[in-house]
Amino acid sequence: LRTSRRPLPGLLRGIRIRWIPLLALLAVAALGLALAAGTSGNGQGAAGGMASRAPGAPAPALARQTLTGDPFDLAALRGQVVLVNIFASWCGPCRNELALLAEAQRRWSARGLHVVGVDVRDSAEAVRALLDETGAGNLTVLPDPTGTTAVDWGARGVPETFLVDRDGRIAHWEPGPLTAQWLDQRVTPLMAP
């Protein structure tokens, strides 16, 4: 094997640098790093494309009793725009956006918007108190004590929002808290008849 002819100074005298193995090792390390960075990047990119919440995918089924005991079925709301908000009373950002959702319901309900909250792993008393407190009593709330409905929708946490169009397809998916601007930009175009 080719080795450096020049002896190194001091303590390292007598040890020759083996360039070929060293370069091979560096090359492999660089390849590994590049591939690792590349695959993690791809993973992030695929997140929106593959899962059930991708725009255009049919919305998962959502049929269960509401907090007030009435039956609810998303399939019966075909022809309306449905905003499905995954929330819980134990989640701070969810508490903050409830007033905004109640306002959206008031503003657009006449034009066919239905706001539905899926209340994940929560107690009925806690969520009733929260709805009273935030003036969001007009929202349809579906208790999901085990969180399996949220999993069915592919929710990654709370709050998370799915906008279902009039054909029952996912139009938009928003992880994290909503803003009035988001609602304006996403809901208004869907409201056009």
Binding site: R16, P21, V151, D152
Partner: protein
């Protein structure tokens, strides 16, 4: 020669110990819970670097419940995994199926190993080739030519005589560090008494509250038979009186009063006047023996006149 044999033996022992240690840390750990092993294969979507089995985030807990519920409904683990991949995308798999360039990543360790071993192998082959004709006197008479033909161009003789020393020293450093590394791995493998039963505390502490929540939601949906099954599983893990009474209540509602009565009596055997147990016993007896039920429910009212169910029971007794 004896030293070489001793060194080889030591190396073999260390390699065996290292292999044993590695096997012990990767082998499947006894009979495993399918729900848990499936959860361990999934990445928690709300956290960084945690599996669904280990994460304390609510969405991971919900995913564990979804897995348990689907397995309880008779779905196979592959079907449940496929369902979750449809919901969350393939990136929730802790080890996504490798394809394309990602496959190269798996080959990298083998490549590194080869790159490390190849020079040693080449040298070993050269040495044996050299020692075969070395039986003759030619090798001994021309040491410089044999070792470094290229260095003959310059001050060959001086270099040739000084070269073996650093090369031998370098090889010795490589060998010593390799043996030290193996000794370290082997030492750790031998010193670790047993892999601590790490998943156990999590599984024993974790599933019962989840199962109780699952059973409660099943009750809310009116599937008492399924809820009773989940309560039974929870009871096996944690034989607690309150779970017994929840199970009894579910059984009464699904029309299995006999077993409910037996459970209520079990609780009463340890706590003779527990109001909830009296309530369950009385409700269970209504199916078989109305008079006995009346006596038990009156005893319940005497014990706990302010119980949340008291008003309902009074109405029941008044109506006969």
């Amino acid at each position: 020669m004896a030293r070489r044999i001793a060194a080889s033996l030591a190396l073999a022992v260390l390699l065996l110990a290292a292999a044993a240690g590695t096997w012990r840390s990767v082998r499947p750990n006894g009979p495993t819970d399918p729900a848990r092993s499936l959860a361990a294969e999934l990445r928690c979507p709300a956290c960084q670097g945690e599996s669904v089995a280990d994460s304390r985030s609510p969405i991971a807990a919900a995913m564990r419940d979804a897995i348990s519920a689907q397995l309880a409904q008779g779905h196979r683990p592959e079907e449940v995994r496929a369902y979750l991949v449809r919901r969350y995308g393939p990136e929730i798999l802790a080890a996504p199926p490798a394809h394309g360039v990602a496959l190269l990543l798996w080959a990298a360790p083998a490549f590194v190993l080869l790159a490390g071993l190849a020079p040693a192998a080449v040298r070993a082959v050269r040495r044996t080739r050299r020692t075969v004709p070395a039986a003759g006197h030619r090798a001994r008479s021309e040491p410089a030519k044999r070792r470094t033909p290229r260095s003959l161009a310059g001050d060959g003789t001086r270099r040739a005589s000084s070269r073996p020393r650093p090369r031998a020293a370098g090889a010795r450093i490589w060998n010593i560090s390799a043996v030290c590394l193996l000794a370290l791995v082997g030492g750790v493998a031998l010193a670790t008494p047993h892999p601590p039963a790490r998943p156990e505390p999590a599984t024993t502490a974790d599933p019962v509250p989840g199962q109780l929540a699952l059973a409660r939601s099943m009750e809310e949906q009116g599937s008492y038979g399924a809820a009773a099954e989940v309560y039974r599983t929870a009871l096996e893990r944690q034989p607690a009186d309150d779970i017994r009474l929840r199970l009894a209540f579910t059984l009464i509602r699904s029309g299995q009063a006999d077993e409910a009565e037996r459970l209520a009596r079990q609780v009463l055997a340890s706590q003779p006047d527990a109001p909830d147990a009296l309530l369950m016993l009385g409700l269970a007896q209504r199916a078989t023996d109305r008079d006995a039920a009346g006596v038990t429910l009156r005893r319940f009212l005497a014990r706990a006149p302010a119980h949340p169910a008291a008003a309902e029971i009074r109405r029941l007794l008044d109506s006969g």
